[in-house]
Each structure stands twice: as structure tokens, then as C-alpha cells.
């Protein structure tokens, strides 16, 4: 494979930022699920027991929020939804059956990726605010009990949506070959870009031509 032809999709700082979010997400999902339902309580063993799970979870959460905010600042401009995205979402059957040729031309991100991006933005915001409200012993005593009760419920709902979204996200990366390499090593092949993100491919190659 000719390395000169490769297209850079993520620079090193993008990749480090992404994997920082990913690692903290895994830690948070495991420690959060441990307290989510009794059948998952055994996961507290991974964190040194129940009290340590309870102590660590919110601190890791802060790290994830800060890292995610960085990621959102980097990528939000590419994730604004437009008319073409609506059409893409309508053709979801073509999407899941690998019939990409029938879909409208996709730019840097497809509509699925964009929707996931905004779902994550919403979930992270809810998780941060509700998480602070239920963070004992530091902040909870300052809040009215009804606020605390609503916050624990919202925290669980937002966490559920986020984990569901990330299951889809991880599977999409396994399904669409070349995606993991893009986030690990930063580059994609021209053929990959042309097939999955043709509008982005045109953009990148035309600017390259001008150089």
C-alpha cells in the first residue's frame, strides 16, 4: 500500500483526546452499572469494592466531562445536521444493509454519527449537572430532597442513553472496516474516504490539488 496516498482523518491530539474519553467512559460505565442494578454489583470488585466505586466514579466523571468538552469543541462544526442528513436517516435500511451507493453523498460525518454526537452532548450535560447534585458528601446536602430524587433518575436515564449510544458507536467501528485504524493511527485510504465519506473526499483532494 502506498503510504503517500493516505489521507489524514484525525491528528494525534484528536486521537489522544478521543481515547481519553473512551477510557474514562469504560471506567464510568462499569462503575455506574455496578450501582445501577444488583445483578451488576459484582463490578465494584474492579474498583476495590463498593465504597471505592462510589468515591472514584464522580472524579472519573469530571475527567470525562472535561475531555469530552475538548472533543466536542474540536468536532461540533462537522456535526451540524442538514437536509442531506434527513434523507440519509430516511434510508436507514440501505445503511444497515451496506448499500452505501444509494445514499446521498456523505461529508466528514454521516447523519448517524452526527445524531450520536448530539445525543452524547446532551447526555454528558445532564450527567454532569445531575451528577453534581447527587455527589455525596460534597454537594448533595445543598439541594432540596425533591431535586436530588429527580437528579438520580435523570442520571440513570442519561447514562442508559449514553451506554446505548456507545454500543452502537463501538459496533459501527467494528462493522465499518478501517474506522478503528482511522482513530488509532489517524489516516484512511482514499478508497475508504471515497466509499464512506465521498463529499469529504472531494473536499480533501481538491484542497490538496490546490497546494
Amino acid at each position: 500500500m502506498n503510504k503517500d496516498n493516505l489521507i489524514e482523518r484525525y491528528e494525534a491530539s484528536d486521537r489522544i483526546n478521543h481515547w481519553l474519553v473512551a477510557i474514562t467512559f469504560i471506567l464510568l460505565a462499569l462503575s455506574g452499572l455496578a450501582l445501577f442494578h444488583p445483578s451488576m454489583f459484582f463490578l465494584t470488585n474492579l474498583f476495590g469494592g463498593g465504597p471505592w466505586t462510589r468515591i472514584l466514579h464522580p472524579f472519573i466523571g469530571l475527567v470525562m466531562f472535561v475531555a469530552f468538552a475538548g472533543l466536542a469543541m474540536r468536532f461540533w462544526r462537522h456535526n451540524v445536521l442538514d437536509k442531506k442528513d434527513e434523507q440519509w436517516l430516511k434510508q436507514w435500511e440501505d445503511v444497515i444493509n451496506n448499500r452505501e451507493d444509494k445514499l446521498p453523498e456523505v461529508g466528514r460525518y454521516n447523519a448517524g454519527q452526527k445524531v450520536l454526537f448530539w445525543v452524547m452532548v446532551g447526555c454528558l450535560a445532564v450527567l454532569l449537572v445531575s451528577g453534581i447534585v447527587i455527589w455525596r458528601p460534597y454537594f448533595t446536602p445543598a439541594f432540596n430532597i425533591t431535586v436530588v430524587r429527580i437528579a438520580v433518575l435523570l442520571h440513570a436515564i442519561a447514562a442508559f442513553l449514553l451506554i446505548l449510544g456507545i454500543i452502537v458507536h463501538i459496533y459501527a467501528a467494528i462493522w465499518v472496516k478501517g474506522s478503528v485504524r482511522a482513530m488509532m493511527r489517524g489516516y484512511v485510504t482514499p478508497a475508504w474516504a471515497k466509499k464512506h465519506h465521498p463529499a469529504w473526499y472531494k473536499e480533501v483532494t481538491s484542497s490538496r490539488g490546490r497546494q
Binding site: 442494578h37 444493509n97 447527587i134 459496533y171 462493522w175 465499518v176
Partner: protein
Amino acid sequence: MALQSLDIERRSATTTQPPDQRQPLKVAKLIDISKCIGCKACQSACMEWNDLREAVGTNTGTYDNPRDLSENSWTVMKFFEVEPDGKLEWLIRKDGCMHCADPGCLKACPSPGAIVQYSNGIVDFHEENCIGCGYCVTGCPFNVPRISKKDGKAYKCTLCSDRVSVGLEPACIKTCPTGALVFGSKEDMIDHAEERIADLKERGYQKAGLYDPPGVGGTHVMYVLQHADRPELYGLPNDPKISPWVSVWKGATKPLALIVLGLAALGSFFHYVKVGPNEVEEDQKERT
């Protein structure tokens, strides 16, 4: 614990039935507010039996001392100066855990065995299993559990489960000089309360009654109130029940959510099996 460990009706964060073969008597503490003189002997007995010492607090201009329940004060006398029928009454209520038949604390607790409900009705915290999340505080409709500043664990009245398990009455009952506090089977306590209520009605308290709120399945600490139609005079909730927010949070939604997550992972896997990976053909050519 010993034999008591055989008699567990409910255990926090446990989805199977705990050992509950034997059927011990349901117990209850009855607090007759009309007989209470506010001497705080029950508070002292509680601290003595349970080896608790409250730090010296500050005077807030009332007889309430300490001002509120804490990790060191599992029962506190609360004084209310009210004028329900235009004449001044000094109502004194011994505050503490109500030992609900449907305990919100236990429902909310995520740690297996940190909260148990014995078959006799006592709701007890096992602090060695407590992780300090405070969900019990969130779940309690009576604002009873307190998180210790020293060890981060939740504490509250045990109804002297250690004494009751060996046939003794709780320490507060033992020490009460006026008979305002009595302890026995829940059935007997209801009978006794009815006698007291009839007596109070004869003395002009037409609305006297028993506080055994059905919203939490009844409680194993009950009050005889002179004004049972207005429990708020005593700082008691009118119709306590587990908050709907807590019920939704801890109800069927959680196992359902786990099933949905499992199905998402399983669905993804079978999508791969059926449709297969989305590969770029030219890439393959380039490699060969």
C-alpha cells in the same frame, strides 16, 4: 445476628428471596404523644445503649437538643408550640426511624445487604456493607438516615434489633418514665392505641387517632396523636409514601434498561453475522 439472620423479609439490592421460612411476630413501638413529658430519657438511653455521644451543640432558642437527628442521635425529641383550636398546646414528638413495612431506604439502596428488613418488621442498617452513596436518604419519606461525617456510612435507629432479638424491649422503652413508650406485637400495640384513643376522645380530643400511615404499608413505630387529622402539627408528613421519582428510578425500569442494552449488543453481533462487515474493495486489491 445468629438466629436473626434466618428471619429476613427483605434485603437491599437482592433480587432473590432471603431466608424467611420462620414467621416471627411482627413487633411495633407505640409512642403516645399525649403521655410524653419531653424528659429526653429515651434520648439518653438510646445514646447509652448504643454507645453514641453527640457533640455539644448550640442553643437555638427551643427545647430541641440536639436540634435534629444525626449519626450520633438516632432519636430526638421535637417540641412544637401550636394553637390548633385557638388554645396553646405544647406537642412533643420523639422523632426517629419509623421502620416502614415498605421501606424507601431499602428500595433505594444499591449495596447488597446494607439494609435488611427482619421478619419482625425492624428495618436495620448493616454499616459494614454500606458504601456511603446516600441513596437511603433519597428514598426515605421521613428524612431519617444520616451519613456520618467520620466514616461516610449511614446511621439511624435500629429499634434496638440486638435487644429485641434476645427478647428485650428497646432501650428507649425501658427507660420511659410515663409509659408514653410501649413495645410489643404490632397487633397488641394497635389494641392498646385504641384504648388510648377512646380515652383521649372522652377528654375532648375528638380527632385523636393512630398514625400508622398506609402509604408506606404501615409502620413499626406508630404514634397516638391528639390531632390525628393534622399530623403536620407534629412535623409528620400527612400521607407519606415512597416518592414517585424514587419508584420510577428503582422500579421495573432498571431491569428493562439492562435488557435493552443486552439486546443492542446482541443485535449488533447478529447484524455482523447476517450482513457482514462494510469493507472497501479497492483496499483489498491494493493489499494483494
